[in-house]
C-alpha cells in the first residue's frame, strides 16, 4: 500500500506542490478531492517539496486533497489492440470501450542511436502533384505544414494519411476543435482506414496539461509498431498548441522565458519529439507530418522558427494551396532521381517558369506593356495553378509528369522551357507539336 500525502502547500496555475518523500522525478500520482481523481506528474523535486502538474487542472483542488504516488512514470500500451481505438490526452479510452493495459511501454523514451539509422530511400506517394513532383515526401521524414487558422490543413493531413501506403496511422490531436476531431475520425472511418489507426485526441475543451502528453504517447506507440517492422505515419495537429501548453507550465514554474514567453528549451522539447522520425536499420520506420499554425502568419514566430530548424523541410499551406516557394522537402534528392528520369527536370523548370509568371503578373498589375513571352507565361501560370497547385487534383506521379509536359507544350516551344534536349525529344507530346 502506497502512502497518501495530504499536505498541499501551494496551488498555482495547473501546478501543485505537496510535502512528500521517496518520490521519483517524472513519476505519476493521483490527486483525489471533492471533484474526483486526476492524474498528475512530478515536474520538480526540492527537498521534501514535490511539484506536480495536474492533468485535470488545479481548479477545485483543496489544500487537504489526497496525493497518492503511483511509483511509475507515464506508460501506454504498445499492443496491436490499440488499432482502431480513440484515446484522450491521458491515454484513457475516448470511445467507451475497455482500457488496453498489456505490453506497457514508457513514453518519452531515449533517443535513437544515430548509427542505427539508415538513409531514407522510399518515396511516400500522396497523389498531390505539389508534393509528389515538387517536394516529394520520403519515408522517415519529419515535415511540418506551416499554415494559419482557417486553412484546410486538417483536410490535407487526412488526404495524405489516406493515400499514403503505410501500415499504421497514428493521429495525435492537440487542442483540436471538437468538429475537427469528428471530421478526422469520420474521414478515416469512411475510407476504412480507422482499423489501422490509433487516435490520441486532446480537444480544446480538455485540460491544457493533457495536451503535453499527446506527442509522446503517439510517438511511443509509433516506436513500438516500427520496431515490429511496420511503416508508421504519425500525424500531429497542431504543434503550436503543444508549444503553448509548454509555455503555460514554464511560466507557472517561474522559468525565465526566452522569446515571446516561450521557455528556453523549446527547441530541445520540439526536437526530442520530431527526432523520433526514423528509418531503423533492420526494422520499420516512423514518418511525422505535423501541423504548425503560425500566429499572425509570421514564420519568424518562435514555434515555426524552431520547428524549421528541426524538421526536414516544410510545406506552406496558403489560400488552400501548397505554396511552390518556401515549401521544401530536404529529402527529395534521396528519391526523385529514381522515379522517372524527367522528374527532376520537370520539377526545376516548372517552378522556374512559375516564378517568371509571378513577375509577369506583377508587371501586368503595375501597368507595364505585356510582351509575347509575358502572355505565354500568364497562360502557363493559370494552367499550372489549376492542374498542379489545386488541392482537389488527385493523380499519381507518372500521369502528373505527363500532364506537366502537356501543360508546357500547350504554352511554350520546346526550346523555351530550359530542359535538356534529349529529355525534350523523348517526352515532348507529339500531338501538340502538329497543331
Amino acid at each position: 500500500m502506497r502512502k497518501v500525502y495530504h499536505k498541499i502547500n501551494r496551488i498555482a496555475g495547473n501546478v501543485i506542490t505537496v510535502e512528500a518523500d521517496g518520490v521519483a522525478y517524472n513519476e505519476l500520482a493521483e490527486v483525489t478531492g471533492a471533484r474526483g481523481t486526476s492524474l498528475a506528474q512530478v515536474i520538480r523535486l526540492q527537498d521534501n517539496q514535490v511539484s506536480l502538474q495536474v492533468f485535470a487542472g488545479s481548479r477545485g483542488i483543496s489544500t487537504g486533497d489526497q496525493v497518492r504516488f503511483l511509483g511509475r512514470p507515464m506508460e501506454i500500451s504498445g499492443s496491436d489492440d490499440l488499432l482502431g481505438r480513440v484515446f484522450n490526452g491521458r491515454g484513457a479510452p475516448r470511445d467507451q470501450r475497455p482500457e488496453v493495459t498489456d505490453n506497457l511501454i514508457e513514453i518519452g523514451g531515449p533517443s535513437v542511436n544515430p548509427s542505427k539509422r539508415i538513409l531514407p530511400r522510399n518515396m511516400i506517394r500522396t497523389g498531390i502533384p505539389m508534393i509528389d513532383i515538387f517536394n516529394t515526401l520520403v519515408e522517415s521524414q519529419k515535415l511540418p505544414i506551416f499554415s494559419i487558422a482557417g486553412e484546410p490543413y486538417n483536410q490535407l493531413l487526412a488526404r495524405i494519411a489516406l493515400q499514403a501506403e503505410v501500415d499504421v496511422i497514428i493521429l495525435g490531436g492537440m487542442g483540436l476543435k471538437y468538429d475537427d476531431y469528428l471530421y478526422l475520425r469520420n474521414t478515416l472511418e469512411e475510407h476504412g482506414a480507422l482499423s489501422r489507426s490509433v487516435l490520441f485526441i486532446h480537444t480544446a475543451a480538455d485540460p491544457v496539461v493533457e495536451c503535453l502528453m499527446v506527442p509522446d504517447m503517439s510517438l511511443a506507440v509509433a516506436e513500438a509498431y516500427a520496431l515490429q517492422g511496420k511503416r508508421v505515419l504519425v500525424l500531429l495537429t497542431d504543434m503550436t498548441n503543444f508549444a503553448d501548453a509548454l509555455k503555460e507550465i514554464a511560466i507557472t514554474m517561474e522559468q525565465i522565458p526566452a522569446n515571446r514567453g516561450y521557455p528556453g528549451d523549446l527547441y530541445s522539447q520540439l526536437a526530442s519529439r520530431y527526432e523520433k522520425a526514423v528509418d531503423f536499420d533492420g526494422a520499420g520506420s516512423i514518418t511525422i507530418l505535423a501541423v504548425t499554425t503560425m500566429p499572425g502568419d509570421d514564420v519568424t514566430h518562435p514555434v515555426p522558427d524552431n520547428t524549421g530548424y528541426i524538421t526536414e523541410g516544410q510545406f506552406y499551406l496558403r489560400h488552400g494551396r501548397i505554396e511552390p516557394f518556401g515549401s521544401l522537402s530536404r529529402l527529395k534528392q534521396q528519391v526523385n532521381g529514381k522515379t522517372r528520369k524527367d522528374h527532376r527536370a520537370i520539377m526545376d523548370s516548372m517552378i522556374r517558369l512559375y516564378a517568371d509568371y509571378r513577375s509577369a503578373l506583377e508587371k501586368q498589375s503595375m501597368g507595364f506593356q505585356m510582351s509575347a513571352w509575358d502572355k505565354k507565361l500568364l497562360k502557363y501560370g493559370k494552367l499550372f495553378e489549376e492542374r498542379m497547385m489545386d488541392l482537389s487534383v488527385n493523380i499519381a506521379l507518372e500521369p502528373a509528369l505527363d500532364l506537366a509536359w502537356q501543360t508546357l507544350a500547350e504554352c511554350f516551344e520546346p526550346s523555351e522551357v530550359g530542359i535538356k534536349t534529349d529529355l525534350v525529344r523523348e517526352f515532348w507530346p507529339k500531338k501538340t507539336e502538329q497543331e
Partner: protein, 578 residues
C-alpha cells in the same frame, strides 16, 4: 577513481540536480548520480554552501531525493591516443557504433564505453631512449595512423621534468600497455601508455608561440577561397536562416577542405544529416590522399534529441581532439554545426540556475564563452619547431534568420571571416547562398587582391543598377548601366555559384580558381558594343552558358581547352575596339 566522496540528491529540476555534500567538491568535476543499477554522469556547475548544482548528461527520470551521488574529483575529460580517427562519438566521447552493438536501437542512459579500442594493437616505434630528459608533450615514439605518424607524447597533464627509466622496444602494443616509465626529481615514478586524458574545457597550450594565420585554407569553394577566404588556423562562421544551405555548405567544406584532420561536431542538429556523413564518408575518396574521407575524420554527434548538457560538452570534446592532432604538427579543421544549439544549452542551464538573464534570456557570460571557444583556434609553432593549426568554423542558426541576435553578434566579434547565408539567395536557388555583399574576411585569398576588389565593385554597382531598375523599369535604364548589371549577374552565375553535387564543379582547387577567375575578370573589364538591351542580354546569356559548361569540364583536358577557345571567340564577337 572514487575517492569515497559522496553526496545526496536534495533537488531535481529537469536535468539539474542539487546535491548536498560534506567533503571537498571541485567546480566542473564529474560526478555520478546512482539510480538503481544506473550511474548517470553529471558535472558540478555551481557550489553554494554545502550544496552543489550539477547538470546531468542523461535523463533524470526516476531520481529521488536522498539518492547517492559519487564525486570523482576529475574534470570532464576525453581520451587521447591512436584510433580516434574514423570514429563516431557522442558528445562525451562514447563510440556510438559500439553503444549500438551493446544497447540496440536506443541510447540507453548510464552506459559509458572507452573511446579507444582496447584490443587493437599499434606498431610502436620509439623515438626517445632510456635516460632522456622529457617534458609533458615531448614525443617518445610514434605509431602509424592513417597517412601520418601519430606521436605518442608524455602526458600533457604531467608537470615538470622527467627522466625516462624504461622504454619498450619497437613492437605491437595495445593502448593500455605500459610502453615507458618515467621518474622526476621528487622521486615520483609514473607509467606511460599510448592513451592520455585531458580536461575538455581547458585549452592545450603546449607550444612555443602562436602565429598570425597567413596562408589560405583552400576549401575548393570559389566564393570562399577567392572572395571570403578562410586561413589555416583562422576562424569563420556561417550564420543563416533555416533552409539557406548551411549544412550542405558545411558538408562541402568537410569534404574538400585541404586539412589533415577534419572533426565534424554535429551539435544539436538533425540526426539524418549525420547519418548522411556516416554512410557516405566511408565511400567518398579524399582527392588529396586517395584514401576515403572517413580516414581523416572524427565525427562528434550529439544530435538535437540527445541530452542537452552533453551538447554543451560536445563542442569542447571536438576542439580538444583538434588541439591534440595539432600537437603532432598537423592542420586540423573543426566544423561545429551549430553553435547556436550549444548556446541554447547554456541558456537552458542558466535558466534552471535562476541566473539573471541577458538578452533573449541568454546568460551574461555567453559572449566570453563564445570568444574563448574560438580563441582555441590558431596557428602555432610547436616546441619542436613544426607548425600545427586548429581552424574553427561554426554554423550559427539565428532565430528568425535575424543576425542581430546575441549568438550571431557575439560570434561576429571574434571570428576572422563571416560567411553570411541569405534566404534571398537560397530562394533564388543561387548556391552556395553566401551573400557576396554582406560577407567579409580578414584573411588573404587565392586570387590577386586587386582583381577581387575590382570584381567586388562590379557586384556592388550591379546591385545598385538592379535596385534602380525595380523602380524605373528596364526601359528607363541606360545601356551602359544595364551592361554593368549583366556583368554582375554573369560573375554571380559563372563564378560565385557552384554546384556542390557535381564532382567537377563541386570542387575547384586553387590553381583552377586563379585561372578561371582571371578570365572572368577579363570579361568584367572588357568594353562591349551592343545594339540594344536585348542584344546585350542575349550575348551575356550565351557567354554565361559557355562558362558554366566550362566549369563542368575537368581542368586542362582537351574539352576544357576547346571550350576555352569557344569562349575566346565569343568574347571577340562583341568586343569594342577603340
Amino acid at each position: 577513481m572514487l575517492d569515497g566522496n559522496t553526496g545526496t540528491v536534495v533537488g531535481v529540476n529537469g536535468n539539474m540536480l542539487t546535491v548536498e555534500f560534506s567533503a571537498k567538491v571541485t567546480q566542473n568535476e564529474v560526478a555520478f548520480a546512482v539510480v538503481g543499477e544506473e550511474r548517470l554522469k553529471c558535472e558540478v556547475i555551481r557550489v553554494r554552501g554545502n550544496r552543489a548544482d550539477l547538470q546531468s548528461y542523461e535523463s533524470t527520470n526516476g531520481l529521488k531525493i536522498g539518492d547517492a551521488v559519487e564525486f570523482t574529483g576529475e574534470l570532464l575529460s576525453v581520451e587521447l591516443g591512436p584510433g580516434l580517427l574514423t570514429q563516431v562519438f557522442d558528445g562525451l566521447q562514447n563510440p556510438l557504433p559500439q553503444l549500438g552493438e551493446r544497447s540496440g536501437f536506443f541510447l540507453k542512459r548510464g552506459v559509458y564505453l572507452n573511446a579507444l579500442d582496447r584490443e587493437r594493437k599499434w606498431a610502436f616505434t620509439p623515438l626517445a631512449k632510456v635516460g632522456d630528459q622529457v617534458r609533458p608533450g615531448d614525443r617518445i615514439g610514434y605509431v602509424p595512423e592513417g597517412i601520418f605518424k601519430h606521436y605518442i607524447m608524455v602526458p600533457l597533464t604531467w608537470r615538470g621534468n622527467w627522466e625516462l627509466t624504461a622504454l619498450k622496444p619497437a613492437g605491437d602494443y595495445t593502448v593500455d600497455e605500459v610502453i615507458a616509465v618515467a621518474s622526476n626529481e621528487r622521486g615520483e615514478s609514473a607509467n606511460l601508455t599510448m592513451v592520455q586524458r585531458w580536461p575538455v574545457k581547458i585549452p592545450i597550450t603546449d607550444y612555443a608561440e602562436k602565429l598570425l594565420p597567413e596562408s589560405t585554407l583552400v576549401t575548393c569553394q570559389r566564393i570562399i577561397d577567392t572572395f571570403f577566404p578562410v586561413a589555416v588556423g583562422g576562424t569563420f562562421c556561417t550564420p543563416g536562416p533555416f533552409g539557406a544551405g548551411k549544412t550542405v555548405l558545411q558538408h562541402a567544406i568537410s569534404q574538400y577542405a585541404e586539412a589533415d584532420v577534419v572533426i565534424v561536431a554535429a551539435c544539436g542538429e538533425r540526426a539524418g544529416e549525420v547519418v548522411e556523413i556516416l554512410r557516405e564518408f566511408p565511400h567518398l575518396q579524399d582527392p588529396r590522399t586517395g584514401k576515403t574521407l572517413i580516414d581523416r575524420s572524427i565525427i562528434i554527434c550529439n544530435t538535437s534529441s540527445m541530452p542537452v548538457a552533453a551538447r554543451e560538452a560536445s563542442v569542447y570534446t571536438a576542439v580538444t581532439l583538434a588541439e591534440y592532432y595539432r600537437q603532432m604538427g598537423l592542420n586540423a579543421l573543426l566544423l561545429a554545426d551549430s553553435t547556436s544549439r550549444w548556446a541554447q544549452a547554456l541558456r537552458e542551464m542558466s535558466g534552471r540556475l535562476e541566473e539573471i538573464p541577458g538578452e533573449e534570456a541568454f546568460p551574461a557570460y555567453l559572449e566570453s564563452l563564445i570568444a574563448s571557444f574560438y580563441e582555441r583556434a590558431g596557428l602555432v609553432r610547436l616546441r619542436s619547431g613544426e607548425l600545427g593549426s586548429v581552424t574553427i568554423g561554426g554554423a550559427v542558426s539565428p532565430a528568425g534568420g535575424n543576425f542581430e541576435e546575441p549568438v550571431t553578434q557575439a560570434t561576429l566579434k571574434v571570428v576572422g571571416c563571416f560567411l553570411g547565408l541569405s534566404r534571398e539567395r537560397s530562394d533564388a536557388r543561387r548556391f552556395p547562398s553566401i551573400h557576396p555583399l554582406d560577407s567579409w574576411s580578414k584573411y588573404r585569398g587565392v586570387a590577386p587582391e586587386e582583381s577581387v576588389a575590382f570584381a567586388r565593385s562590379v557586384l556592388r554597382q550591379g546591385a545598385e543598377v538592379n535596385q534602380m531598375m525595380k523602380v524605373i523599369g528596364e526601359d528607363g535604364t541606360a545601356l551602359p548601366d544595364f551592361v554593368v548589371y549583366l556583368k554582375s549577374e554573369f560573375l554571380d552565375y559563372v563564378y560565385l555559384q557552384q554546384n556542390t553535387f557535381d564532382p567537377v564543379d563541386g570542387a575547384t582547387d586553387a590553381e583552377r580558381q586563379r585561372y578561371v577567375f582571371a578570365r572572368v575578370v577579363e570579361v568584367l573589364g572588357t568594353e562591349f558594343d551592343f545594339a540594344d538591351r536585348d542584344a546585350a542580354r542575349r550575348y551575356f546569356l550565351e557567354l554565361r552558358q559557355l562558362f558554366i559548361d566550362w566549369n563542368y569540364l575537368p581542368f586542362q583536358n582537351e574539352d576544357f581547352k576547346r571550350q576555352e577557345q569557344a569562349i575566346n571567340a565569343k568574347i571577340e564577337e562583341c568586343k569594342r575596339y577603340a
